[in-house]
């Protein structure tokens, strides 16, 4: 390998390391923000609906089954929007 080529390869390697560091930092921040949101969600939402869901499961099992699917799909879409927005925002700031 020629010295010029070696230098170019070194620059590419350093660039990749820098990118990886940025991605790791963004990911770390996202985990912290996301964890805070999840704790709030546990305290405010899950504790509040636990009793209602138990009643529904004991009295109207078919309705409980439908509500269970709606809840998990609804949560999935909501969390997907939140995580995507977080990733986009944090990556945008790190660049």
């Amino acid at each position: 390998m020629q010295p010029a080529e070696r230098g170019s390869a070194k620059n590419v390697g350093q660039g990749m390391k820098k990118e990886a560091r940025k991605a790791l930092w963004a990911f770390g921040v996202e985990i912290v923000v996301y964890s805070a949101l999840v704790v709030v969600y546990f305290l405010l939402v899950l504790r509040f609906i636990a009793g209602e869901l138990q009643n529904l499961e004991q009295r109207h099992i078919v309705l409980y089954a439908l509500v269970a699917i709606a809840l998990i799909v609804g949560q999935a879409v909501l969390l997907e929007i939140i995580t995507t927005a977080l990733l986009r925002r944090l990556r945008g700031r790190s660049e």
């Binding site: 089954a65 269970a68 998990i72 969390l79």
Partner: protein
């Protein structure tokens, strides 16, 4: 944290971490992760019937996230996924009925444990053997290529030559013609394991799609996840009306899975098909070890 529906007391942090791990695996391998989730719920004292039903509910949510990501990457064959959903639903119902039968007989925990260990070990051994054979066969100049290869390509070719009408084409997956019945049988077997052992049974459907139907691994991963949304929703409903779903546990697990699934889906872009399959090998074995441990220690840590 108390979960009144199942009467379980489980740490939410434990559930979030298990969900995160399963999310990464699901996004990367296109599997529901039930070989980890089922044993992980079982080890904290949940009965198998609740572990199976609750895991299915959690998988619905996790798969929604992963499919949106895979669809953006062009990894989903919608036509194949919709066809497979029919076979999977039939199989899932048969599997759920078997669970009910063993639940009534009072030996559901023992039977499901033994069957799951056998299946997990078999899947790991087969995928290790196949991925190694494929990596050995690949030409040297394609060592860094992401193009899909399989040492068992001849099985898929034989299946494609079987003329059992109606024949259908799958242009997105690069399959010119394959019998509808072969797709439905593959899906039914996957559904049967899904209903019986829980989860989406991606550990059996994803390899079957690659080896029997000849679908490229990246597409098999995304399409499997899409199909899991439909079949796991049906499985969740079926198990919920039988009293086997604690949706609160599923919701807590899913908060971890949501972020893990995105990371896993992005990671597939950096690996070739046989390497994805080789990396998959230890995972069912981990599930098997956890199940053996729960059997030997009285089912709870």
């Amino acid at each position: 944290m108390d979960f009144p529906i199942s009467g379980a007391h489980i740490s939410p942090i434990y559930l979030v971490l298990v969900g995160f791990l399963i999310g990464v695996l699901g996004g990367f391998f296109g599997v529901g992760g039930s070989f980890i989730a089922g044993p992980a719920l079982r080890i904290v004292g949940l009965d198998w019937n609740f572990a199976v039903g609750t895991d299915l509910a959690h998988i619905v949510g996790k798969s929604v996230v992963a499919v949106r990501r895979h669809r953006a990457l062009g990894n989903v064959d919608l036509k194949l996924g919709c066809i497979m959903a029919f076979g999977t639903i039939g199989g899932a119902e048969v599997g759920a009925q078997l669970i009910q039968m063993f639940k009534r007989a009072g030996n559901v925990n023992f039977i499901v444990s033994i069957v799951s260990v056998v299946i997990y070990v078999f899947i790991s051994a087969f995928m290790f053997w196949e991925a190694q054979a494929t990596l050995r066969q690949r030409p040297r100049n394609s060592a860094r290529s992401k193009k899909d290869h399989s040492a068992f390509r001849h099985i898929a070719d034989t299946m494609h030559r079987l003329r059992l009408p109606p024949m259908i084409s799958l242009p997105v997956s690069g399959v010119k013609a394959v019998s509808l019945w072969i797709i439905l049988v593959v899906a039914f077997v996957g559904g049967l394991f899904s209903g019986f052992l829980g989860g989406g049974a991606g550990y059996i459907r994803m390899p079957s799609m690659v080896y029997i139907l000849g679908i490229p691994t990246h597409l098999a991963v995304g399409t499997d996840l899409f199909e899991i949304i439909i079949s796991a929703s049906y499985g969740t409903f079926s198990h919920a009306i039988k009293g086997n779903v604690d949706i609160l546990i599923a919701l807590v697990m899913h908060t971890g899975a949501a972020i893990g699934a995105q990371i896993g889906a992005i990671a597939t872009q950096y690996f070739a098909g046989p390497k994805i399959r080789l990396a998959f090998v230890p995972l069912p074995l981990i599930g098997a070890i956890i199940v053996i441990y729960t059997l030997m220690t009285g089912h709870k840590v």
